[in-house]
Subunit: 342 residues, 2 copies
């Protein structure tokens, strides 16, 4: 994505982010030592706000008022941050957005408890919809949220289980299924569905977003995994942290399918050790081998293919919407997803 | 409590438990490896079902149909078990109900994720109320649940923060405030409020349960702490696990206030070490000192005082209800709370 094309996209993203942050800030209660202060900190240090932006943009593209979707968009962002706090505990990640993770700053017990409270707060935030949109719409949004929440946790369970059991017999299909659960529903499909649901007061066909969000989410996650592996320090996470964690990525699936027998044995050995025992030189060897075997190129191509499919699905999902800044944002989002460097 | 008086109470408890378990079982979806199987296991191995019993009994005492409160009661039990799974991670407890804890069986990452999904399922279970009780009542129950959830997490944050910072300058009042947040709301106050809310279709004065539940919950938690310290193996948790964990109990508050200077210094030393470094002989010394200083007798007396206050508050909360098996259960509950040996 050239910087000329990116500029309006990024400025729109900043705008969505600022509006979401305002709602988030006033959604965190005061008081309660060791809890709400940590949540405030987490929110202030949070990322780009991609998920609430998708929700607000979908609402705007479908002709709705952005204000009507703000509670839901902010609830999605709160839940996303709850996931990140627990993810970092689960993966023992030490940095996030370039800073020590919540459990590094406050200890694992408080990090677990903080994530629980953030999930609870995200549900509280949705209750604002009763007042603004009426109980019937509020309940439909609850339904969307419920599905979003449990699908994501199912996908997370799958990924964690594979790592724990050192499952290396997985196929590319398994990876795609896991990503659709772990990432696509909560990051793209439901943000689109909720935005359009609110804008159309329940009249829009929400099924069109499932395909779009699945393709875009898959492209997003694969690109995310590539960024992690490339491990530039702008990314704000440990370089190649996924390899230390033993994450099942598309590159790893490809490597396992394409590596020669002796290399394969060494890969199995490295992943059978606990995280702490994986050496930098082993991780470097894995990175080199992935380069050599073309695993990273393979993943890049897959991300591009998913993006192309997302672009076709975009026309089915948003084709009838008149052009406006929100539709432009969603169009820009597709390029951004596989062009971003962090 | 004599066994003659206890028999109808326990049989009623079993009856409530069986009805709750039925709802819980059908509330856990199938599929999703590494997730719903763990939740099923957790539910089958769960405890006495005191909290849903309180909710069902309150509904029955206020003249409601037990069926109407079943979804809410089961949701409370699901959330309680979510708390326990995360509590055990936070405290690094190794046994619960006499068996290895979820994180010991499945690892910390999956335990954290499982607790998240159980919290999400508890919210899903509440949505059954829309169908059976209508949207207005369902939303009122959501409000109760929201308060219950965040108060409990605030109390838990306080306890975890005190342990992390090795705060030994706490007073008895701090302990009571922490317990009211951590235990009383979700275990007694809200189960009563929700039961009476449903039975009266929103007409009952719910404020009367705050006092009753606060006194009963405090008696319950103090007795719980005494049981942990006594550490009989019927209890199903590590003997004196609270001392290894550094939990701030009423006995510890009393000990710190009454111990002589040299003993006090040794106490501070023991608690300033990480959990893993606390020796059995140090824990045994703490237990003996608590005996000698009368800390356990003090806690027993406090539990009895709270119970007496709960009994007076019971008359205000349930005095106008006609006698039936549900009101009898709640009366029996008060004795049970400080007489149970596990």
């Amino acid at each position: 994505m050239g910087s000329a094309a990116a500029a309006p996209f990024l400025s729109q993203l900043c705008d969505y982010r600022a509006r979401t942050l305002e709602v988030l800030r006033r959604s965190v209660p005061d008081g309660a030592p060791y809890l709400y202060g940590i949540i405030r900190e987490t929110i202030e240090l949070a990322g780009k706000g991609l998920r609430p932006a998708v929700c607000l943009a979908a609402c705007g593209a479908y002709g709705g008022r952005i204000e009507d979707a703000l509670d839901s968009a902010a609830a999605i962002e709160m839940l996303h941050n709850a996931f990140l706090v627990h993810d970092d505990v689960e993966d023992l990640s030490e940095t996030r957005h370039g800073l020590p993770t919540v459990h590094v700053r406050h200890g694992i017990p408080l990090a677990v408890n903080t994530g629980d409270a953030m999930q609870a707060l995200s549900m509280r935030m949705l209750r604002g919809n009763v007042r603004t949109l009426g109980p019937a719409m509020a309940f439909r949004i609850f339904d969307e949220f419920d599905h979003l929440l449990l699908r994501s946790l199912e996908g997370q369970a799958m990924e964690l289980g594979w790592i724990r059991d050192n499952n290396l017999s997985l196929k590319i299909d398994d990876y795609v299924r896991m990503v659709s659960l772990k990432t696509c529903w909560y990051s793209f499909i439901h943000p689109c569905r909720i935005g359009a649901l609110i804008a159309s007061r329940g009249k829009a066909d929400l099924g069109v977003f499932n395909e779009f969000g699945f393709y875009l989410g898959s492209a997003f996650q694969i690109h995310d995994d590539i960024l992690n592996l490339a491990g530039t320090d702008v990314y704000g996470k440990e370089a190649a942290g996924d390899l230390y964690e033993g994450k099942r990525t598309l590159m790893l699936m490809h490597l396992l399918e394409s590596a020669q027998i002796f290399d394969r044995i060494r890969i199995l050995e490295i992943f059978s050790k606990p995280r702490q025992s994986r050496l930098p030189k082993e991780v470097a060897w894995l990175q080199e081998l992935m380069q050599k075997q073309g695993s990273i190129d393979y993943a890049r191509a897959a991300a591009r293919d998913f993006l192309a499919a997302a672009q076709r699905a975009f026309d089915r999902a948003y084709g009838k919407c008149p052009d406006n800044e929100h539709k432009d944002f969603l169009r820009g989002l597709m390029e951004y997803v596989v062009a971003r460097d962090r």
